[in-house]
């Protein structure tokens, strides 16, 4: 029984982890049809923000929950203004340009902080015990934060005027701009929010994974798979794909080991895409969130 609970918790954490690293990417993709290849570097920058701030004496929670999203959100807005906005409607060029950006970020961070791990910080909160098994309390907290983040995004999209405008723009940009909505501003804010959430995710994971200039690559493969398998709907897509892929990965990893777990995740995604090329929530219907 305790084993079931402990394993279940581990799988749940895997699912939450996928959702957390994918949400920022999913927001930018779902709203703007832009696949941000610098997504991994947004996570990486969030991680660096936390490590640097914590080492400079800033409270860890402030660094993770406020500084990381703020810094990366601002970077996102700058990137959108300087680069992305010239490329709307040119999806392939956007992909390539964001890839260039990704290399640029890796290069800058490596030049400043060196290629190896910056001073790490350890996860706060210690462990909780489930019968004879233990689990990291911080991982439990991350599950909670991921759920809360999902709910927050849902509420913003559903309840606020910003969400309404954003949904309108993403369904019909021309119509929205005819109604006086500044599409350009909506895109800028969306990109900023997507970046901020990526920064938050990167910051939250920094104590668990440590930081490296190239750590983005570790995240993006999984984030891409999750977002593509999920399809265009931001929340429904991310949630369903995270549950499916994270679940398969977790179960396979428990039964056979982490390597097979990743193979299982990849195979599931491939089979899924053959059956549903537009992802679980379908690329055509943008109505669901």
């Amino acid at each position: 029984m305790d084993l079931v609970a402990a394993v279940g918790l581990q799988i749940l954490y895997g699912i939450a982890n996928l959702a957390l690293i994918s949400l920022g990417l999913a927001i930018i993709f779902g709203m703007m049809r832009v696949i941000n290849l610098a997504h991994g570097e947004f996570l990486m920058l969030g991680g660096y923000t936390v490590v640097i701030a914590a080492n400079a004496g800033v409270n860890l929670w402030v660094a993770m929950l406020i500084l990381a999203p703020l810094v990366v959100g601002v970077i996102g807005v700058v990137v959108e203004r300087l680069l992305i906005r010239w490329l709307y409607g040119r999806m392939i060029d956007t992909l390539l340009a964001t890839w260039g950006l990704s290399l640029l970020f890796i290069g800058i961070v490596t030049s400043i902080f060196g290629a190896s791990t910056a001073t790490t910080i350890s996860p706060p909160l210690g462990v909780v015990s489930i019968g004879e098994y233990t689990s990291s309390a911080y991982e439990l907290l991350l599950i909670g934060i991921t759920v809360a983040l999902g709910i927050a995004v849902f509420l913003v999209l559903k309840m606020t005027s910003l969400g309404l405008v954003a949904r309108g723009t993403m369904q019909n940009a021309e119509m929205a701009s005819a109604l006086g909505v500044s599409t350009s501003r909506v895109y800028m804010i969306t990109f900023g929010i997507g970046a901020a959430i990526s920064g938050l995710a990167g910051g939250l994971l920094a104590p668990v994974t440590g930081v490296l200039p190239t750590i983005g690559a570790v995240y993006i493969a999984k984030a891409f798979i999750t977002v593509i398998s999920g399809g265009a709907a931001i929340l429904a897509g991310t949630a369903s794909a995270s549950v499916l892929l994270g679940g398969v990965n977790g179960i396979a990893a428990f039964l056979t080991g982490p390597t097979i777990g990743e193979v299982a995740l990849l195979v599931t995604a491939i089979v899924l895409l053959r059956l549903m090329p537009r992802g679980i929530t379908g690329g055509l219907f943008r109505k669901s969130l």
């Binding site: 010239w86 060029d93 390539l96 340009a97 490596t110 030049s111 990743e262 090329p277």
Partner: protein, 375 residues
């Protein structure tokens, strides 16, 4: 007529390649030759993406996956077989088979360009993280350990009929350069065949190709698989040049590099990406010897600058300039003739008109060739 164009250019380039192959070992130092072998392997990889992306229009962001698979398959097979000849064939076939599986999912699912780019990149990254985990004695294929992030030492190529006669690095250079020339001739031939032209037409307009009765999925799968085979060959050459294969062949940096060669060299040409690979190889090796400017930084800037500023790439842009200059010169020549004619008065009007029509008529034909297949 349609298929016979620009064959001379291709043969000229191949001849330069052969000449280089024959001369280089006697003028260059051994170290340079060994380095060149690696650069040549990368050029073959560039060539494979030039075919798949530049001609097939398939946005493969993970072409290095097939390259890495080729390198691993060669190394593992050569260790197991105790010789390289069959291992080379196995490497190419494994890369092709892998491409067929991935390609089947993507093309028969009709996933869009952007998804395709991300899926192929993801496949490469997943392979990277998978192979990195294979340290220790549990992970082996036949006699060969996979070696995790340390990789495997690759057995050098031997003479086909004598496994005990292992080639020296300078001989491997001949093999690599020869392979590049053959691969170049093969891919240019392929782009001129009916199959190749259909692939180009699919790049131009997928729906029209489909409405003409071509099974777009099959053609895409075909050129994707051929490209993977060429990339697999590149992998074989690469691990021979370097002497070992590590999971790094699958990493994000190499995926980006492959794309950048093609962007810089130019889509729609075969020689452009080959030159792009050589150029960037020497640029990054030069940068590698100093520590102030980071390689990623430079590549990132190159990529952004080219996407925003030179989206067609160097070779097509140069070709465009040259064509424009030719047209301008022709126009000027015509103007001169007209002025001359006017100065001479009405005499010889017929003659002048005939000469004037010459360059004008030549313009569109030349332009047509440029837009069709600059290769």
């Amino acid at each position: 007529m349609i298929l016979a164009r620009d064959v001379r250019g291709t043969l000229a380039i191949a001849a330069v390649g052969v000449l280089f192959m024959l001369i280089a070992p006697s003028v260059l130092e051994l170290f340079t030759i060994i380095n060149l072998t690696t650069a040549i392997a990368l050029a073959v990889l560039a060539l494979s993406l030039a075919l798949v992306w530049g001609y097939g229009g398939i946005l493969c962001f993970g072409q290095n996956a097939f390259f890495g698979i080729g390198a691993y398959a060669y190394t593992i097979a050569a260790i197991n077989f105790g010789g390289s000849s069959w291992a080379i064939l196995v490497a190419i076939l494994v890369a092709v088979a892998f491409a067929v599986v991935i390609g089947y999912v993507m093309f028969y699912g009709r996933v869009s360009d952007v998804y395709l780019a991300v899926i192929t990149l993801t496949v490469s990254l997943i392979l990277y993280s998978l192979i990195r985990r294979t340290s220790g004695p549990d992970y082996k294929i036949g006699k060969s350990l996979l070696g995790g992030f340390n990789g495997i030492t690759s057995p050098p190529i031997n003479l086909p009929w004598d496994p005990s006669f292992v080639l020296f690095p300078e001989h491997v250079f001949y093999v690599a350069m020869g392979a590049l020339v053959v691969a170049y001739l093969f891919t240019s031939w392929l782009t001129r065949t009916h199959f190749g032209r259909v692939c180009v037409s699919i790049r131009e307009n997928e729906l029209r190709a489909e409405l003409l009765g071509y099974d777009v999925r099959l053609y895409k799968l075909g050129i994707f698989a051929v490209g993977a085979g060429v990339a697999g060959l590149a992998g074989v050459l690469f691990c021979n040049g370097v002497g070992r294969v590590t999971p790094d062949v699958f990493n994000l940096y190499n995926a980006a590099l492959t794309i950048i060669w093609v962007i810089v060299g130019g889509r729609g040409t075969l020689i452009g990406p080959i030159l792009g690979a050589f150029g960037l190889f020497y640029l990054t090796s030069a940068l590698g010897t100093q520590s102030t400017v980071n390689n990623n930084l430079v590549l990132g800037i190159i990529l952004v600058v080219f996407v925003l500023g030179v989206p067609k790439g160097v070779i097509p842009t140069l070709a465009g300039w040259m064509a424009a200059r030719r047209t301008r010169r022709a126009l000027r020549a015509r103007e001169r003739r007209m002025r001359l004619r006017r100065a001479r008065g009405g005499g010889g009007r017929n003659d002048g008109a005939g000469a004037g029509a010459g360059p004008g008529g030549g313009g569109p034909a030349g332009a047509g060739r440029g837009a069709g297949a600059p290769e």
